[in-house]
């Protein structure tokens, strides 16, 4: 099986298959990641294309990586946050620079709303998810949806190892403490069947 390093080096070396391989493997993930930042699908598409244009233009000068998804996510985050901030600036020049926090929307919230019978469940889940901050949502997303190590999370969020760990534990604790009221609702979903 091809490793990320091999594919990446093949891409840098100009091997033909690598770009399509990388694109087809990562584009959906990037797209979904983009949805965590904005509802503007055009902006997501533009940003993904820019990330790839950049790769193509700087093909031979790119650094090494053994985790292509992580590399692309960092590049993507950097670009999309910049675009969103500059848009906000034009609308409202007083926006503070560093206050941008991505608000992770767990699909639960959107997904279940459609069904009338699910309304109560959704409300309970929303309440729990609201007990954690956007930063905490972001870190949990990297940790549990992307399965990233703390080292990678620290790079993506520019935070220190210890604070990353603390943040994860605090978020989990907060989730747990708020779980009790919805115990009954969720419990049946986990009943073990024989």
């Amino acid at each position: 099986m091809l490793t990320d390093s091999t594919i990446w080096n093949d891409f840098r070396g100009g091997k033909g298959y690598a770009l399509a391989y990388i694109y087809s493997g990562q584009v959906e993930h990037l797209y979904r990641y983009g949805r965590k930042f904005t509802k503007d699908e055009e902006l997501i598409k533009d940003t993904i294309q820019e990330v790839f244009y950049h790769l193509i233009r700087n093909r031979s000068n790119l650094g090494e990586t053994d985790n292509i998804r992580f590399y692309l996510m960092s590049a993507f985050k950097h670009r999309i946050v910049r675009s969103i901030l500059s848009e906000k600036h034009s609308e409202d020049s007083m926006e503070e620079h560093n206050s941008f926090e991505l608000s992770i929307v767990y699909s639960y919230e959107d997904e279940l709303i459609g069904k009338e019978t699910e309304r109560k469940k959704v409300q309970a889940i929303r309440k729990v998810l609201r007990t954690i901050s956007p930063k905490q949502r972001e870190i949990l997303y990297y940790r549990y949806s992307c399965d990233y190590s703390y080292e990678e999370i620290c790079k993506l969020m520019s935070i220190k190892y210890d604070s990353a760990r603390k943040m994860v534990f605090r978020a989990l604790l907060s989730l747990r403490e708020h779980l009790d009221p919805i115990d009954l609702i969720l419990l049946f979903l986990f009943k073990k069947k024989r």
Partner: protein, 410 residues
């Protein structure tokens, strides 16, 4: 027994991968139930951990293939432009890059498969928009072979060095000398209206129903056997206790030792269904952090239905398991099946598309048997009578209307 885990908080459980491994092992040894019974507090904390993980599970709308294709077009164009600039500078490499551009174009047309590398989300990326007329074998090398027949057969020889197609032509596989490297995957694509059967290197036989895709290796190296499925297949797995057999779909994983079962996992369906004819299998969710907590053990003559929307699994006894495998013999029996399901299946077998008037198909339950060797015209005559509808066939489209004299259905 290692009991430090009994004092873990729910958060520690979620965070500690070693704990998850420990728990999986307990579960496999069937020691978990006893432990949970003896330690109710531990059981409660596990429940909390489970709920946290469920909360964190991100499920998302799929990204439209159109968007993916449109972005790729402009990225590939940019790549070509850039490559051509490059070419002026390095004239002697012209040929190589021209070849690369051609290859890229090919890829953008056909796409291809790849194995995602994280163990926890392991899934084959089948192209969802692949519309082929003929059944097709795509070798790991990228080579594509049309299988031509409506009911094609494929047999991988024991050493995994060659594939025989339709009991006729033999295609040799490159193979590898190293024992332990993971072998690349071949893919078979069976369009709607066709069927195929595959015999894998270990002797396991797989019948693939219409509109299905399966990825499989030349031979099974390593400690397990693993294939990937989208659509419906009937498996007759050769027993081998030392190498368990895994079937992965987008939503679930089936673990078998040696058994016969039918698995239906079409993208378009709301449910993934497993029916066991013989032996034992376990079924669990494929996504996210796998805690085995949703593992469902299935015995012979049972049916497990996994609902994609609420991620729950239901198990029912199924006295007539044969109903679910009859398609391999060219029959489609249905017993108290909602009419809508029957129509959906006919769409797949015959590669047609139903266009309904409003309110149809109804949820009425019908029973009967269709001979899949009949033409679609014959099938429609029977179906129209049972379902009390009139129909009009226009090439691949079939327009369905309720009989005028019938009372309105809800």
């Amino acid at each position: 027994m290692d009991n430090k885990y009994l004092d873990y908080t729910a958060e520690e459980m979620v965070e500690d991968r070693n704990f998850l491994i420990w728990l999986n092992r307990l579960s496999e040894n069937h020691e978990l139930d006893k432990l949970l019974d003896e330690n109710p507090h531990f059981a409660i904390k596990i429940n909390q951990a489970r709920e946290i993980i469920r909360l964190l599970k991100v499920q998302e709308e799929p990204v439209l293939q159109d968007n993916i294709n449109a972005m790729w077009e402009s990225i590939a164009r940019s790549d070509r432009v850039h490559q051509s600039k490059f070419r002026i500078r390095r004239y002697n490499r012209l040929l190589k890059y021209a070849a690369a551009v051609v290859f890229l174009l090919m890829l953008s047309t056909f796409g291809y498969l790849k194995l995602k590398q994280q163990e926890s989300h392991k899934m084959y990326a089948f192209r969802s928009d692949e519309t082929v007329e003929q059944s097709k074998l795509i070798l790991a090398s990228g080579r594509e072979i049309d299988l031509k027949k409506d009911e094609s057969t494929i047999k991988v020889n024991e050493q995994g060095h060659a594939i025989r197609i339709n009991n006729d032509s033999l295609i040799s596989l490159p193979g590898s000398n190293e024992e332990n490297i993971e072998t690349p995957m071949n893919q078979i694509v069976v369009p709607f209206g066709k069927k195929s059967s595959v015999e894998l290197a270990d002797g396991t036989k797989v019948w693939l129903n219409a509109g299905s895709k399966m990825a499989f290796p030349d031979r099974f190296t390593g400690s397990k056997r693993e294939v990937f499925l989208e659509g419906e297949a009937f498996f007759n797995v050769t027993p081998d206790k030392s190498k368990p057999f895994f079937v992965r779909t987008k939503e679930i994983v089936i673990r078998v030792l040696g058994t016969k079962f039918n698995l239906s996992a079409y993208e378009a369906d709301n449910e993934v269904m497993t029916v066991l004819v013989e032996g034992t299998v376990s079924m669990m969710e494929n996504k996210g952090i796998n805690l085995l907590w949703n593992e469902t053990i299935l015995n012979a003559h049972q049916r497990a239905t996994f609902n994609k929307a609420d991620l729950t699994t239901k198990v029912n006894d199924e006295a007539q398991a044969g109903i679910y495998t009859a398609w391999t013999d060219g029959w489609f029996p249905f017993c108290k099946e909602p009419l809508s399901n029957v129509f959906k299946k006919v769409e797949r077998y015959y590669n047609v598309q139903f266009v309904y008037s409003e309110l149809f198909p109804s949820g009425d339950l019908i029973s009967g048997k269709l001979d899949l060797k009949d033409s679609i015209e014959d099938v429609m005559k029977v179906l129209a009578d049972v379902a009390k509808v009139t129909y009009r066939i226009d090439q691949k489209k079939i327009f369905i209307e309720l009989n005028k004299e019938m009372p309105m259905r809800k």
